[in-house]
C-alpha cells in the first residue's frame, strides 16, 4: 500500500481545552490568548459562535455576549505535549508519523508496507480515525498520494470525515476545490488572496508563479510549486523519543534489605546514565517506584542539587532516602524513570576549577538533607512586607546557599524572640508597662485584626512583648525582649 494519509484535528487547541475541561462540553467555550479581560479569543465552539462570540473578540466582550462562556488558555507547551501524545498513539498504525510543523493538529502518516496489516486504504483510514477518537479527538482523514494533496483534502471540512482518494489525478482534482482559508496560510497572504477573489487551491495554482514570488516571497512561490505538482514534498517522519526507564524484577528473590537493594539499584543506574549521556542530557530527577510484597507500592522522588551525570551523587541520595524511609516490605520490583534536561558544558568539564568556598558541596549537602529528611526540610528565613510581627518574616525552601555577606559589628541591640504562635494569656499580665499601647490593625477586607501592643517588665526582670486582641477580647504573649 503505497499511500500517505493526513489526519486533521480541527480546532486543535479547542479540542485540547475541552478534553481538559470535560464539564464544559455542553457550554459555549473558547480558547483565549490570555486569561484577562483584554485577552483575545482564538477559537470558539459552535455554542459560543451561536451566542455571537467570534475569534478576534476580546474576552470581556465575549463574556458580555454570554455569561455562560467558559474560556481557558492552551499554551504552546500543552499543544506540543498533546501533539507528541497523539503522534505516539498513531505510531501503532505506522512507524512513520510526522506532526506537521506548519499546522498544529495535522499529522502525516506513511502507509507504505502496511498492506499486510490493513486490507485496504479505507480500513487504514478508519483505523486512524478510531485511534484518534480513543484519544478523545475528532478528526478528518484523507488517504492520498502526496503530502499537500492529502493535507488539503483532509482540511476541506464538510460532512465526509474520511476520504480515500482513488488515484493521484483524483487527489489533484479534489485538492483544487479546497478553499485556501482552510490551509493555515499566513494570514497576510490568505487575506490578500481573498481580496483578489483567489479562494481555492485551483485559483491559486492558476496564478503566475513569478508574480507570486515577486509579491509574496519564496514561501508563497514554494506553496504554488507544491500545489501544482512542480515540487515533490516528502514525508518527514519524527523518530519516537523513548523515555529513559529501567525495571528490575525481583520476583524470585524479593529484597527486604536496604543495603542490598542499593547495590541492585547501582547496577541499573549505570545504563540509565549512559543513555542520558548519549542524548547529551543530564539527570534532573529520578522517579523511583518500589513494588512491595502484599502492601501498596512506595514512590520516591529524588532530586540532586543540580542536574548531574554522576551516578555516585545519585547513589548517595538514594542511600539516604532508603535509610530514612526504608521499604515497608520486601521489594518485588523496582521501576526507575529519569527526568532529564540538556546537560551543561561545564558538567563535562574535567578541569572545572573549584572555588575556595564550594557552593556545589553546600548544595549537595542540602540535597542530602532533603533526601534524608524530606523535600521541605531545608528552609531559610526571609523578610516580608507586613505590619503584624508574624507577617514581617517567613520561611522559604533554600534552593542554594548564597555567599555570606557579613555586616560590620554594630552597637548591641535588643533582640525580640517571637513565639511561633502567640500564646494566649489567662489574665491581664502583671508588671510595669513600658510605653504603649501601640496599635496594629488591618485585614478588614478579610479577617480584621486589632491588636494593642505593650511591653511589660515583670518582677523577675523579664521584658514581655504582649498584645490585647480587641476582636477576641483577650491578652496574648507575642514574645520576649532580651
Amino acid at each position: 500500500m503505497d499511500r500517505l494519509a493526513c489526519a486533521d484535528l480541527p480546532a486543535f487547541p479547542l479540542q485540547i481545552l475541552l478534553a481538559r475541561e470535560e464539564t464544559w462540553r455542553g457550554l459555549p467555550a473558547a480558547v483565549v490568548e490570555e486569561d484577562r479581560a483584554q485577552g483575545r479569543v482564538l477559537w470558539v465552539n459552535e455554542r459560543a459562535r451561536r451566542a455571537g462570540v467570534l475569534p478576534g473578540h476580546r474576552y470581556a466582550h465575549a463574556l458580555s455576549l454570554t455569561a455562560e462562556l467558559r474560556a481557558g488558555v492552551v499554551s504552546p507547551g500543552e499543544i506540543d505535549r498533546t501533539s507528541k501524545r497523539i503522534a505516539d498513539a498513531l505510531r501503532a498504525l505506522t512507524p512513520n508519523v510526522e506532526p506537521y510543523a506548519g499546522d498544529a493538529g495535522a499529522f502525516f502518516l506513511d502507509g507504505s508496507g502496511l498492506s499486510g496489516l490493513f486490507p485496504s486504504a479505507s480500513a487504514w483510514g478508519k483505523a486512524i480515525r478510531a485511534s484518534l477518537a480513543r484519544e478523545g479527538f475528532a478528526s478528518a482523514v484523507a488517504v492520498g498520494f502526496t503530502r499537500f494533496g492529502a493535507y488539503a483534502v483532509a482540511k476541506r471540512g464538510g460532512k465526509k470525515r474520511l476520504v480515500v482518494l482513488r488515484d493521484a489525478e483524483a487527489e489533484r482534482r479534489a485538492a483544487r476545490t479546497v478553499p485556501l482559508d482552510r490551509l493555515g496560510l499566513a494570514p497576510e497572504l490568505r487575506d490578500f488572496l481573498a481580496k483578489l477573489g483567489v479562494r481555492t487551491v485551483g485559483d491559486y495554482a492558476a496564478l503566475p508563479p513569478g508574480g507570486l514570488a515577486l509579491r509574496f516571497g519564496e514561501d508563497a512561490s514554494r506553496l504554488h510549486a507544491i500545489a501544482t505538482g512542480a515540487l515533490w514534498d516528502p514525508l518527514r517522519p519524527e523518530a519516537p523519543e523513548e523515555p529513559l526507564e529501567a525495571r528490575i524484577v525481583l520476583d524470585d528473590h524479593p529484597e527486604g534489605d536496604s543495603s542490598r537493594l542499593l547495590f541492585i539499584l547501582k547496577s541499573a543506574l549505570g545504563p540509565l546514565f549512559e543513555g542520558l549521556a548519549a542524548r547529551g542530557e543530564a539527570l534532573a530527577a529520578l522517579a523511583m517506584e518500589l513494588v512491595l510484597e502484599r502492601v501498596p507500592s512506595q514512590s520516591h522522588w529524588i532530586e540532586p542539587a543540580e542536574p548531574t551525570l554522576d551516578p555516585g551523587v545519585l547513589l548517595r541520595l538514594l542511600h539516604l532516602r532508603l535509610e530514612s524511609s526504608p521499604p515497608r516490605a520486601a521489594v518485588r520490583e523496582v521501576r526507575l524513570r529519569a527526568v532529564s534536561v540538556r546537560a551543561r558544558a561545564e558538567q563535562l568539564d574535567l578541569f572545572h576549577r573549584m572555588q575556595r568556598r564550594d557552593p556545589r558541596a553546600a548544595a549537595e549537602a542540602i540535597a542530602q538533607l532533603r533526601a534524608d529528611l524530606g523535600n521541605d526540610a531545608v528552609q531559610r528565613a526571609v523578610l516580608r512586607d507586613g505590619h503584624l510581627p508574624e507577617a514581617q518574616f517567613g520561611w522559604e525552601p533554600l534552593a542554594s546557599v548564597p555567599a555570606p555577606k557579613p555586616r560590620p559589628a554594630e552597637e548591641r541591640v535588643l533582640v525580640r524572640r517571637l513565639h511561633a504562635r502567640p500564646l494566649p494569656l489567662g489574665e491581664e499580665p502583671r508588671g510595669t508597662p513600658e510605653g504603649g499601647p501601640y496599635v496594629v490593625s488591618g485585614g478588614w477586607w478579610r479577617n480584621e485584626v486589632v491588636r494593642e501592643y505593650a511591653f511589660v517588665e515583670t518582677d523577675e526582670g523579664a521584658c514581655l512583648w504582649l498584645y490585647f486582641d480587641r476582636r477576641r477580647g483577650r491578652w496574648f504573649l507575642q514574645g520576649v525582649v532580651e
Partner: protein
Amino acid sequence: MSSTRYAALTCKSHFSFLEGASHPDELVLAAHELGVPAIALTDRDGVYGVVRAHSRAREFGGVHFIVGAEMSVDDGTRVFLLAQDREGYRNLCRLVTKGRLRSPKGESEVSWDEVAAHAPGLLALWGGERSALLGEPDPAPIAGTLRDAFGDRLYALLARHRRAEEVPSERLLRARAARYGLPLVASNEVLYHTRARRPLQDVLTCIRHGVTLSNAGRRTKPNAEHDLKSPVAMAALFADDPAALERTLEVAARCTFSLAEIRYRYPLEKLPKGMTSTEWLRHLTYEGAKARYPNGVPKRTQAQIEKELALIEELDYGGYFLTMHEIVRFCEDQGILCQGRGSAANSVVCYCLRITAVDPVRMELLFERFLSRERAEPPDIDLDIEHERREEVIQDVYRRHGRTHAAMVANVIRYRPRSAVRDVGKALGIEEVALDRLAKVLGYSEIRREDLVQAGLDPRVREHELLLVLANEILEHPRHLSIHPGGFLLGDEPVHDLVPIENGAMEDRTVIQWDKYDIEELGLFKVDLLGLGALTLIDRALRLVERHRGESIEMATIPPDDPPTYQMCCNADTVGVFQIESRAQMSMLPRLRPRTFYDLVVQVSIVRPGPITGGMVHPYLRRRNGEEVVTYPHESLRPVLAKTLGVPLFQEQVMKLAVVAADYTPGEADQLRRDMAAWRSKGRIEKHHERLVSRMVEKGIAREFADAVFEQIRGFGEYGFPESHAASFALIAYVTAYLKCHYLPEFTCAILNAQPMGFYSPATIVEDAKRHGLVVRPIEVASSGWDCSLEPDLSLRMGLRYVKGLAEGDALRLIEAREARPFDGTGDLVRRARLARDDLERLAEAGALDALEAGAGGAPRSRRDALWQVRGLARAHVPDALALEPIDAAPAFAPLAPFDTILWDYRSSAHSTRGHPLEPLRDELRAKGLPDARAVASMPNGKRVRFAGLVICRQRPETASGVVFMTLEDETGFVNVVLWSKVFDRDQLLARTKSFLGVTGRLQVEGTVVHLVAEELWEPETSRMPARTESHDFR
C-alpha cells in the same frame, strides 16, 4: 496641666491625590463638630482644596482655617509650610509653582534653598517620618538654613500615631530639636476626618501603588490612627507633653491669612491715550451698536445699553468685557468663527461687541441672569470657537497676557462608577474580567446591588460586598487633575501669586490648581474658550459658497425666518443640523413644528432631561397645538411663564418661579442655580425640595405642579439650558439648517470635512445627501484633495482623508506630485508619490486607482487588478520606470460584484458613494416581503410590520425607564424603533451586536412621526451579509 484645645496643623484632604480620604468640606465640618478651633489644610505640593475648606469654614464661623501645603524637597524629604499672611500665601504659591513646573505632571520638587528663599510670611513645621530632621544622619546644615530663613517660625513637628517605632524616632526628634533650639509642636498626620474612612484610605493607597490589599504590605498605614481627633483624645495622647499640644494654638494664632484677602484685579487691556476702560468700552459698544442696528439704535435697546454700562462701571468689570472683545476681534481678524454662549447672550453690550449673536432686547432675555448687583459675582462669558482653530486663539491669549498672567483652569477628574469599580475592584483583588463585566452595566449614578447581580457577582460574597460599599464611597473623590477644555484665569498680578501653576498633560499648557467652582467661589474672572465643531462646519460652508457661487454670506446676513428652512425642520429633515439632528429631536420636530426663531429656541431646550423628567414636554405640545387651554398655576406666574404657554422650560424661568412662587430672595434663587449646576454633589438640590414645594402650596399652587417644578429642577441638575444659551445654540442650529436647505453641496462638503462631529457617521451623511439629489463622487487619486471638495458642477468629490489609515502627510505628497504633473498611470504614481505599499493598497482597495488605468473602452478596471499591480510595483523597488513592468502577464481577476464594491468601500473608507449596503440586496429583501424605510413611513398606524435595516444608532436614555431606541437605515431612509425593556432584555444579544437587524413590530404613527414598536428582533437571512456600518451608541 493638660490642654483640651488644639489646632490640627497637618491635614491632608483627598486633594493629596490617592492619599487623603476625606473632602476638605468634611475635614472642616468634623473640626467644627469636634470643637477643634483651627485646622490647616496641608495637601501634598498643592492648595487644590483650600477654597472649598475656606468657604466651609466661613459658613461655620467658629473654625479658623489655615492655608498650607506639604512640600516635597529634592532630597526625598518633606516639610509642612503654613501661610501666616498674604505675603506668605504668595510665597507658598510661588514655591509650589516652582516645584511643579520643573517636574513631570503629578510630581514636584524644591530645594532647601528655595524653601528658605520663600520663607517670608510662612511658618515651617519640620518633623514626621519623611522629614530630614529624622531621616538625615546629620541634618545640621539644613537646620541652619531653615533657622536662618524662618527664625522663630520654625517648629519641630511631633506626631504620635500609636506605632511602636515612633518611640525611638521621637527620642531622636526631641534630641535634635533641643540641639537646634526648635520648639516642639504636636500634630498628627490627618488623612481622614473619621476612622470609618480608613478602609478607603487603604484602598486609595493600593490604587496609588498599583497593588492589591493582600499584597500591599507596609505601603498601607498600620492602623486607623490618622483620623481627626477630638481635643480630649489629643490631650490624652500628649498627656506627657501638654506644652507641645498647646503650641498648636500659638501656631494657629500666628497664621492670620484668609483667602478672603485675595484682592483680584482683572488685567486691563491697552487703552487709547486718555481714555478709561469705561470710556473705551462705551465707545466700542456704541460703535458696535451702529453696525448691529444700521437703521438706528432702538430706544429700548439704547436704554438697556446704558443700564448695562452703568452696572459694568459700578462693578468695575469693564476690563473683562474689553478682553472678550479683544479675543473676538482677534478671531475676526484671523477669520476664525466664534460666538458667545451661555448667559452672556443676555447682554446687549456683548451683542454690540459682537461677542454674542442674539439680540437680547428683541428676544426679551433677562440681563440679570448674566450680571446683577445683588449677586456681586463676575460675569461668565463662554466663547465657542470653531474647533479646528481654537488652539490659535489660546496661544494668542498666552501671547498677549504672558504665561505668568494667564493659565488654564483645572478640571478635577473624579471617580465615576466605572472607574470606581475598576480601581477599587483591583485593589480588592477581584478578577479584571468580572470588573469589566460590571463596569459595562453601570450607569452614571451610584452602583447598586442589582448591577452586581446583573454582572454575575454575588453581593453576599465579602469582596463583592466591599466593592459595592467602597466603590460608592470613592465616587466623586478626585483621581487626578486635568485641564478645563478652555477656561483661562487672567490676572493683573502674576497668576502664580494667586494660585500655584503646574504643567498640564498637553505640551505647552500650564494649569492652575483650582477648578471653575473655586474660581467662581472666590469671585475671580474666567475666560472660557470652547471648541465647537458646528462653527467649523459653518465657516467651511460659507467659504465654499463664496468660492463656488461667488456669494458672500455671513452668519449675520443669513435671512431670518426663512420658510423653506423651517419647513425642512418641520419635516425632521435635519441630518447634520446642529442640535436638532438626533433621533429624539427628529421625532419632536414634526410635533413642535418650528416656524420662528423662538420656536427653535424652545425646540433646542425641550428635548433635555430637565423638561422630560419634569413632565413638561407633552403639556407644552398640547397647548401649542391648541389641544389644551393655556392656564397658569397661579396668576402671579403669568409673566414668568407666558412665553412658554404656562410651562417652564428654561433655567431662568425656574429661578424666577422660585422667586415669585416660593419667595426666594435673588440670592437664594442664585444658590438654587448653583446647586442645579453642581448636580453631581448629591443632596444639594434636595435641600430645596421642602422649601420650594411647601412655599408654593402656601401660595395656592397645586401640589402636583409644585412637585413637577421640583422634578424639573432636579432634571436641570442633569442638563438644563438657560434661555440665552438655548438662543445662542438655536442660532447656530438655524444657520446650519439654512445652509443644508439652500446650499446642500457646500453644507455636506463642510460637514464631511469637519468630522468627527455631530450625531451621524459620514456614511449616513453621504447617504442622506444622495437621497437629497446631491451627486457624490468617489475618492479618486487623479482629482481628490485631502479634504472633500466641490467640482465645477457642484457635485461632491470625496477626499483622501476618508481612506482609512492614510496619513495626511502621505496624501499631501501624492497631491503635490499630481499637481506637478498628472499621473499617467499606476507606475507613475508609485514612482513619484513615494507612498508605502500599505498606502498604495489602501488606495487600490478604496477604488481610488480605478480610473487611473481605465480598461477597454474607458471602463474603470477592477480594483483587484489595481491591488495586484500595486503590490507588484511596490515590491519591485526599482526607481526606473522601464523596470517597473510586472514580471508575468497580469492574471485576469474577476471584477467586483456591486455588493462587493460597496463592501470594499465601507471596509476601506467607511462609506460608499456607489450605493447603500442594502441596495444590492433589495430584490432579495423584497422577495421576503420586507418593505423599505420609505414604504414603512407611509404605512398606517397600528400596522404590523417586518423590517430589516442597518443599525446606525442605539440609545438608552436614563429618562426613558429602560426603553431602548434604535435607528435603522436603508437606502431610502430611516426607521425609528422603540424597544420596551422586556423585548430588549429578551433579544439584547441581537440588539447590542448585530449591525444588520430585522424587527417585527407594530407601527405607531402620530402625524408624520413614525415609530416601529418592536415585538421581536431577528437576524435577516440574506445571501450575503451587508457591510458593517458604524453605529453611534449612547446612554
